[in-house]
Amino acid sequence: MGIDLAVMWFFIIVFATLMYIVMDGFDLGIGILFPFVRDKHCRDVMVNSVAPVWDGNETWLVLGGAALFGAFPLAYAVIIDALTIPLSLMLIGLIFRGVAFEFRFNATPAHRPFWDKAFQGGSLLATFFQGVVVGAVISGFPVSGRQFIGGALDWLTPFNLFCGLGLVIAYALLGASWLIMKSEDPLQERMRRLTPWLLLALLVVMAIISLWTPLKHPAIASRWFTTPNIFFLLPVPGLVLLCSLAIWRTARSESYAHALPFVLTLGLIFLGFSGLGISIWPHIIPPDITLWDAASPSQSLGFMLIGALFIIPFILVYSFWSYYVFRGKVRHGEGYH
């Protein structure tokens, strides 16, 4: 058999996670940016710019979870079990910000500030704990047989919490550059001024994580810092710097296409994420369990693969179409509601 089904599913899950991070990233980022924007109308524009698409964005997270469940049941059982607390907090965050989309508009005026806070707090909570989850996956899980044997609070480490903070900044940058594309002054101007700061903060965070990870995990260090790997991997930090310079320039000046900062930020996030993938491959439950150990029987992988290869292109087409329908600037008063 020429195709390794487990590897294909690993890539599909990585793809779904990446789609999730970039797509829900900017709409969670909008919630994180709420404290920087006080004006009610600007906030409406922010929410309306993602209202038609957030559901679809969040579905990638469900796909990631479901595909992990179906393709790597052992990994699903161990990772989700080990991360029960941060994942539950993430879900609670997603509940609050998810319902806030509709509730902000349906609430009585007295309730509205509460749902604004729920949107903001929920987005922040969900993002922070997603970052913690990412950190915990890099850090690995102790497993014996087919059971997670660590404690319920193993995830509570400085490194994981720092990853949480890092993701908050990453999503805020995605949100800010998205709004440069989708809004007009004064909101756009505000975001243009915010973007370079967020970019700087993100670069600092990325640098710290890039140093901290190999220091903490010798296996990851040897993957990156041995020949010949280092020659193949060296372009990653180079491209990160290049992307950052371009974001800096395009965000600060009106003369570039308004979509550029956002597109470049997507590139930046993609690079950061691929660095993560390089670090953990081919372990699906780092540090010991490989994706082949955790995979479902080939009958499941094969059956799912038929569906995935056939349906995901359609999903991409109509998702893109939906974005296309709602292209252009969101103006105040144009409320979709």
């Binding site: 469940f69 879900l91 479902s296 329908v325």
Partner: protein, 463 residues
């Protein structure tokens, strides 16, 4: 917490979160198809009443859908957080079917929902109708996969077991397992019916308050036709589902009937009342109709229904719960049928919209479909116990090894969040319903080619 161990707390958490969740999809499934019908009628007949009803119900649909998405997200992760034993045992089947649900249903719904809710001014009416239909189709696909998954847990087939893991051998057999067709039909119809009763009650509320607009009347009339035609179909499907359960899960039927032992030559009665007692192995205070149980379940007057005592003690589902949940569901079904029959009579007498006792009855029946769905699911899920996958894995072996303290906190937090968020959400939905449909005149157009242009004015109104 309250002397319960982590295992029972995990079960309560699952029951609680899934019960809260199912209410939203049930309404979503029904409303999506209702909206597709309304928009189709509007395009065909150009009657603005349908467009006004669409506008009205799509807002309620949006609020309901959002709550369904976030409460469903919790479900997708709860298998892993609390039921890791089950996940690694049966993930090869349950996870695969869930993946198909995400791919074919969730993306379809979410992808077209934006256009459906916010796209009136951005796409033509044909394309908009297409988006509504895709959302409705997504809800049907979703029902298909999740019920295939649940039915496989009830009546598993098409698999083998290697190294403590289920290996699917024949996907057709896995998906179209014996109980699936009946459960799919029974639940889909239940979702349509509960929506019809929900819509009907909303109309009844407005009629009782003196709002006799054509929109409200149309809404009332449509939902009552659903009640008249679909309730009897549901009764027949339910009967077939029961016979299927008798064949494949006889212990569940015995528990539902509170039926402990068969005496030679005596047909099984139908108990109308009773308090099944698992310890004493009998049903106390039983009041029954002789032979009716045999008649309903075996369609004969002499065959016997299996009795609980013929199953090992540790394999018996808790009869005290399913005995009553089943009777609640069946009783509500009969009330629904009664409402349908009365509506036919009143329609004939031309008093459908004016008979206040009837309007009050319809109002009270608003939540009946949803309560019946909950009661039905309690019956089928509790009736599967002590198994999580019938005859393959016991629920006790499926649970994650969390501490009692952690499960208590987690249950407490989810309880608070659900009650507050979804409680408030329901109150907002009620507020939207009380506002009533917008006057259809604003959708009456001089230019029939551009039916969506009428909305521009309304879209700019502040909410």
């Amino acid at each position: 917490m309250f002397g319960l161990d982590a295992f029972h707390l995990a079960r309560i958490q699952f029951a609680f979160t899934v019960s809260f969740h199912i209410i939203f999809p049930a309404i979503t499934i029904g409303l999506a198809s209702y909206l597709a019908v309304l928009e189709g009628l509007w395009l065909k007949r150009k009657n603005p009443v349908y467009r006004s009803l669409y506008q009205f119900w799509s807002k309620i649909f949006a609020a309901n859908f959002g709550m369904g998405v976030v409460s469903g997200l919790v479900m997708a992760y709860q298998f892993g957080t609390n039921w890791s034993g089950f996940s690694q045992f049966a993930g090869s089947i349950t996870g695969t079917l869930l993946t198909y649900e995400v791919l074919t249903a969730f993306f379809l719904e979410a992808g077209f929902l934006g256009v459906m809710l916010f796209g009136w001014n951005r796409v033509g009416p044909g394309l908009h109708f297409f988006a509504t239909c895709m959302v409705a189709l997504g809800t049907i696909f979703s029902t298909f996969w999740i019920l295939a998954s649940n039915s496989w847990m009830q009546t598993p087939q098409g698999f083998s077991i290697h190294n403590g893991q289920v290996v699917p051998e024949d996907w057709f057999a896995v998906i179209f397992n014996p109980s699936f067709p009946y459960r799919l039909l029974h639940m889909s119809i239940a979702a349509f019916l509960s929506t019809a009763f929900f819509v009907g009650a909303s109309a009844a509320w407005h009629l009782l308050r003196g709002n006799h607009s054509q929109t409200v009347r149309t809404m009332f009339s449509m939902s009552l036709w659903m009640a008249v035609i679909v309730t009897p179909i549901q009764a027949v499907v339910g009967d077939m589902h029961g016979l299927n359960t008798l064949k494949y899960q006889p212990a569940k039927i015995a528990a539902i009937e509170g039926h402990w032992e068969n005496k030679p030559g005596e047909p099984t009665p139908l108990l109308l009342f009773g308090l099944p007692d698992m310890e004493q192995e009998r049903t106390r205070f039983a009041i029954g109709i002789p032979a009716l149980g045999s008649l309903i379940l075996t369609h004969s007057l002499d065959k016997q229904v299996p009795a609980l005592k013929s199953f090992a003690k540790e394999d018996r589902p808790p009869s005290a719960i399913v005995f009553w949940s089943f009777r609640m569901m069946a009783g509500l079904g009969m009330l629904m049928m009664l409402l349908g029959v009365i509506s036919l009579w009143l329609r004939y007498r031309d008093k459908l919209y004016t008979s206040r006792p009837f309007l009050r009855f319809a109002l009270c029946m608003g939540p009946s479909g949803l309560i019946a769905i909950l009661a039905g699911w309690v019956t089928t899920e509790v009736g599967r116990q002590p198994w999580v996958v019938y005859n393959l894995m016991r629920t006790r072996d499926a649970v994650s090894a969390h501490s009692d303290l952690q499960m208590s906190i987690s249950l407490g937090v989810f309880f608070l969040v659900y009650i507050s968020v979804f409680g408030v959400g329901y109150s907002y939905m009620m507020r939207l319903i009380k506002k009533g449909p917008p006057p259809p005149e604003q959708f009456a157009l001089d230019n029939a080619d551009k039916p969506h242009s009428g909305l521009i004015s309304s879209a700019k109104e502040p909410r």
